[in-house]
Amino acid sequence: GAGVSQTPSNKVTEKGKYVELRCDPISGHTALYWYRQSLGQGPEFLIYFQGTGAADDSGLPNDRFFAVRPEGSVSTLKIQRTERGDSAVYLCASSPGQGYGYTFGSGTRLTVV
């Protein structure tokens, strides 16, 4: 597609439930990033994929968070046993992989009630 697509745009879930957030990057972009943004804050890095592998997952807050990119294109961020503190906007970005040209999607607003 022309841009980075994230679905759903909004997700409301109950505390303790499992959620999946999807990111469809720009075609041909080898690098994919997940960020989390709380209200009034800058995006906070979660994980970075180069191709199919996670090149840097140092930003994942705990083992309830997991992300995959099995075919080197679409990525899914998975959150188990959601907590109210997980409520935030989850942003995905992709780039050609040379450390430039990052393009962000519009994000998924996750609300845990």
Binding site: P43, F45, D56, Y100, Y102, F104, S106
Partner: protein
């Protein structure tokens, strides 16, 4: 650890004025910097970028200045318009490294 931070949380200007938004970074390994604009409910939108081998880059109505000596960069917006009202973030990265964002500056443009 590395950080990219902003000096002012809110900047209020009059339409037609020039705006300057400042940013400091701490990671000497950062060699690529981006300015993003973010409107409510939207993802960050690329404005302009600069590599560490440059000290100035110009776009349409925007200029980014990089001072590596004091680890500072700024975004200058000429003839600011109401449509420029948004939160502006700077972000820095090393080669093949993740972008690190600052907390943002809210630009308010009054007609």
């Amino acid at each position: 650890g590395e950080s990219v931070g902003l000096h002012l949380p809110t900047l209020s200007v009059q339409e037609g004025d020039n705006s300057i938004i400042n940013c400091a970074y701490s990671n000497s390994a950062s060699d690529y910097f981006i300015w993003y604009k973010q409107e409510s409910g939207k993802g960050p939108q690329f404005i302009i970028d600069i590599r560490s081998n440059m000290d100035k880059r110009q776009g349409q109505r925007v200029t980014v200045l990089l001072n590596k000596t004091v680890k500072h960069l700024s975004l200058q917006i000429a003839a600011t318009q109401p449509g420029d009202s948004a939160v502006y973030f700077c972000a820095g990265a090393g080669f093949f490294q993740k972008l690190v964002f600052g907390t943002g500056t809210r630009l308010l443009v009054s007609p």
